[in-house]
């Protein structure tokens, strides 16, 4: 098992933002009269799929966390 602490694992993660948030910002700023072309729509649908998958993963993780019983940690964070 990896000996890294949860904090170290988090620090090691790649920073990212759900792509739907970026796309929503882009779409809200564009001129609605210029209709989306097929390429835009495909890109949007792909991003919606990725975004939805990410939301589902997070929801499953939250559900698993809620189900987990509390257990004492061997590493006490400083200050506690």
């Amino acid at each position: 098992m990896d000996a890294s602490s949860p904090l170290e694992l988090l620090i090691g993660e790649v920073e990212q933002i759900n792509p739907a948030i970026l796309l929503a910002e882009e779409f809200m700023r564009r001129n609605a009269e210029v209709l989306l072309n097929a390429e835009d729509i495909n890109r949007a649908e792909e991003i919606l799929h990725i975004g939805r998958t990410e939301i589902d993963v997070i929801n499953r993780q939250i559900a698993a966390l809620v189900r987990s019983s509390a257990s004492p940690s061997a590493n006490l964070p400083i200050g506690f």
Binding site: N18, A20, I21, L23, A24, E25, F27, M28, R29, A32, E33, L35, L36, I41, A44, E45, I47, L48, G51, R52, E54, I55
Partner: protein, 270 residues
């Protein structure tokens, strides 16, 4: 050049539309700015864009003339004024879109249902006085007691004056090739015309339609065909009114044996 002229800035759209766009954007920014809200926003924009494309394709003149906002919310508040205009155009020029339980401004139209045009024989009480005469006559095969009561009251005819009605119709009754008015009437009552406006009723789960040109055009065509079916019955109504005994006898003969009396084909109407 005056100071005022010097401050005039030329934009491709009117000020009101730019203001509406800004308000729409600001209200988006003030909503919960998380991934779920973003998903909903992108899906809503895609939905509106799909409808704008349909509007432009189906009603190009109206689109170029339109001043309805692409941003400000319309009567159906989930959609812009321009999309609302499309709903109204389809309702006015194609088929009754807005008459089917869409009196709530919060209604969603991602898929839409159509109102049945036929009489709901499943659960609704049948008001014979409100039916076309031919339709009421055709109900002798489905609701004989009520139908004969109605005919007796109207024409003083009794079930015993006519041949026994077979429990099942002759297979020829359903043959569309014979072009029979009686056949059209019975298919209409049986809800087996193949036309979605005539075969649906409020008791069954509604079919849901999508926003694409093919679907809208097909529903428009079927709506016109449904109205033509009812118009064709006018001739039959007149014939029954003129000689109820003869026509009821012919109708029963058609049901029992599939025999078609002269003058009862659709193309013979005129």
């Amino acid at each position: 050049m005056s100071v005022a002229q010097g401050l005039t800035i030329s934009y491709p759209w009117p000020f009101g539309e730019r203001l509406s766009k800004s308000i729409e954007y600001l209200s988006y920014k003030t909503r919960s700015h998380n991934a779920i809200a973003a998903q909903d926003s992108v899906a809503a924009i895609l939905s509106e864009q799909q409808k704008y494309a349909l509007y432009k394709e189906m009603f190009p003149k109206e689109w170029s003339r339109s001043r309805a906002s692409l941003y400000r919310r319309g009567h159906y508040e989930k959609y812009s004024e321009r999309v609302n205009e499309l709903f109204q155009l389809i309702n006015d020029q194609c088929f009754p879109l807005l008459e089917f339980a869409y009196d709530d401004p919060e209604s969603e139209f991602e898929n839409f249902a159509i109102p049945p045009l036929n009489v709901d024989l499943c659960c609704e009480e049948i008001w014979f006085d409100n039916l076309r005469l031919s339709y009421a006559a055709g109900l002798i095969f489905y609701f004989p007691d009520e139908a004969w009561d109605f005919l007796n009251e109207k024409f003083k005819v009794s079930r015993s004056d006519f041949p026994e009605i077979h429990s099942d119709p002759d297979p020829n009754v359903w043959d569309r090739k014979n072009g029979s008015l009686f056949g059209e009437l019975l298919r209409l009552i049986d809800h087996s015309t193949g036309n979605p406006w005539l075969d649906s009723n409020y008791c069954q789960t509604a079919d849901w339609y999508t926003w694409d040109r093919e679907t809208i055009e097909e529903l428009t065509k079927e709506f016109r065909a449904a109205n033509e079916t009812f118009e064709k019955l006018t001739r039959l109504d007149e014939m029954i009114e003129a000689d109820p005994k003869k026509m009821l006898r012919a109708l029963i003969e058609f049901w029992n044996k599939g025999n078609l009396p002269k003058g009862m084909k659709c193309h013979e109407q005129k």
